[in-house]
Amino acid sequence: MRTLLKNGRILDPSINMDEIGSILMEDDQIIAVGADIDGSDCEEIYDCSGLWIAPGLVDLHVHLREPGEEHKETITTGTQSAAAGGYTTICCMPNTNPPLDKPELIDYILDRAASPEAGGVFVAPVGALTVGLMNERLSDLHALKKAGIVAASDEGAPIQDAALMTQAMELCVQFDLPIMAHCDETSLSANGCMNDGATNAMLGLKGMPRSAEEIMVMRNCLLSLHTGCQLHVLRVTTWGAVEMIRQAKYLGAPVTCEICPQNFILTDDMVGDFDPRFKTTPPLRTTVDIDILLQALADGTIDCIASDHSPHAAYEVDVPFEEAPFGMVGLESTLGLTLTHVTHKGILTPLETIRKLSTAPAKLLGLDAGTLQPGGTPVAQICVIDPDLDWTFDVSRTFSKGKNTPFNEVRLKGKGVLTFCGGEIYRDAQFNPDRYETFDLD
């Protein structure tokens, strides 16, 4: 079967393409991209005029919660949420229960993600760096790699012991695994629940000082420099951490990092009177940090945008602030938030926006994603975006089980309206399938 996506603005950062054109698919493959495509024999035509056609988005930082915390999210609901958010490839974090420290668990994740009920996106598991994420001994990283992990991480349980992290990096060099590091010096941040600043002082909440993040970013960057291990810093939130990473890159360390929308939009004072939806780790910081983070996103110091999708059940969030879990859902809001707060404000061009959301994260973990070129991915991965669609993010209508987000009912401009991963896996109600009929008259 032939499918045509016609007359869209094709944004393919993998070859720096930004032009009006069409995409021709044969079954689940892209077979041609460009301005002069004959789609006369296509069974299905999507008119994409006024829309962007981009590679399917790639999220390096997702908590699918399975196994063990299916009350928060399942692989089925999480992948459906990803498809609705424009994603075609997501990395799932290892801090499940039990943590992803054994090959059997990786097999389980991949099986569940491939099942017909799932959302149809590719799930690339991230393995636990240490057994049980207990930070005592390293997992069998070789076996995990063979089972299909794309990186290893200490997410949720940052490794404090520098010697253990050095050993982890040495073995990850040997097995060609990047490390995704949760950077937090916990002797400084223990029991903290928000940024250490003016607001937590007022509210009587223990703070998480910026130095806790920055010290660990610096340590991990230095270990990466000296071992040669590829390091991806999860969720950068402070200007100091950005400067550490800038310096590490200057020194030639193989370091990359990500930012999440909450950290370039929200600030610590928004916690207000103890609203636990604003509780994240590392925490929301200040407007000074946001200015520098956005500059660093534009100048390339920050490589990509991730969601840090962290679903929780409602009853877990309706507790006193200091007892509430960290994190918020993000798969279905990250694209809209990025377009609204970054692209439409002129901080990134449309092509650079797609690079941060797709091509760059795919490239840094070597994932088969992030391009529209024929044969560039095993199956077609495409996200069609209506950049000017005004919409209200309504969390009650999301696919994710988690409804914990401070962005509920926020007005956004720009939305993913169609997602293809092989075939069509998501179509937004706002996308009119018949719209081509009114245009396709020539």
Binding site: A201, G204, D269, F274, Y315, D318, V319, P320
Partner: protein, 318 residues
């Protein structure tokens, strides 16, 4: 039903504070004259203490007794909370047990705000973590205004473990809203590092902090702070921050020495400061009853119309 919550001082208007102090003062006169102070409306009030307390709980019970309200006690020990019930579920249960108001003390900052979201009736915060303890501050304000006439223009030094103190926060908000100059005095490890949203200035040196002060409020120093390494030793704290016959001379001659209790005698205060002519510690305890009477009537909307302030009751469930 129209009602208010008393969750903290920070969100009160100065006129609310003035009304509460005025009501407390009037209750005190009437109780001392042996008059009937029964409330025009009778309510069943739950006292929910998830943290140990003797004086505050007794004070609330006494206040309810003078007003003719019924009190029912609920402690976390032996309750459903110890069986794993969430705070939200406990609060909702008490709502459907038809308790009309809750007085709550809880170790988590912000827990009173959470209770207010789910209870649907007046919540009085009797101390939430390190956040606020509004009735303590109101009692202290009544004590100061009895001794000094007015709060406006006074210099008040709040000395000690400000970082971990709900009493310091509530008193700081109250006094600064009422026009006093508030100074927070203590070691760098026990003051917040960023005071830009805090109702006062920081002083790390005791003598400059209490210089010319009309009121010195001491805060309790918990032994835990020494174990945490926030204070080198009790001896060091005593040497640098104790209010005693030597250091008190730097304050005004007629300064008040206050303490929310319980006192670590010989640490925050020596005997002369605690028991001498400057000390208001006993007045504070007594006044605690009358401000809690005022707090009950204020949250239930029984504010005397004679009061010049117009009622700004929030209607219905917040």
């Amino acid at each position: 039903m129209s009602y208010r919550n008393l969750l903290g001082i920070r969100n009160l208007e100065p006129s609310d504070i003035a009304t509460l102090i005025q009501m407390a003062s009037s209750f005190k006169e009437r109780v001392n004259r042996g008059e009937n102070t029964a409330s025009p409306t009778k309510h069943v009030i739950g006292l929910l203490f998830f943290e140990g307390s003797t004086r505050t709980r007794v004070s609330f019970e006494q206040a309810a007794h003078y007003l003719g309200h019924k009190v029912t006690n609920f402690a976390s020990q032996g309750s459903s909370m110890s069986k794993g019930e969430t705070l939200k579920d406990t609060i909702e249960t008490l709502r459907y047990e038809r308790l009309e108001s809750l007085v709550m003390r809880h170790p988590a900052s912000g827990s009173a705000h959470l209770a207010a979201r789910f209870f649907g009736g007046p919540i009085i915060n009797a101390g939430d973590g390190q956040h606020e303890h509004p009735t303590q501050a109101l009692g202290d304000a009544l004590t100061i205004s009895e001794k000094k006439g007015s709060l406006s223009g006074l210099r008040v030094a709040i000395v000690g473990d400000v970082l971990h103190s709900r009493v310091a926060r509530s008193n700081g908000w109250l006094l600064s809203k009422m026009g006093a100059e508030v100074r927070f005095v203590g070691p760098r490890t026990l003051l917040p590092s960023n005071l830009s949203l805090f109702p006062g200035t920081a002083h790390y040196d005791l003598l400059s902090g209490i210089e010319g002060a009309d009121v010195i409020m001491c805060l309790r120093l918990q032994r835990e702070r020494m174990r945490q390494g926030l204070v080198g030793s009790e001896g060091e704290y005593r040497r640098l921050y104790q209010i005693n016959s030597r250091t008190i001379r730097y304050a005004e001659r007629d300064c008040l020495v206050m303490h929310p209790g319980p006192i670590n005698r010989g640490v925050e205060l020596d005997d002369i400061a605690a028991d001498g002519a400057h000390s208001t510690i006993r007045n504070q305890i007594e006044n605690g009853i009358f401000v809690r009477m005022a707090a009950f009537e204020w949250v239930f909307g029984n504010v005397p119309t004679a009061s010049s302030q117009k009622s700004t009751a929030k209607r219905g469930k917040k």
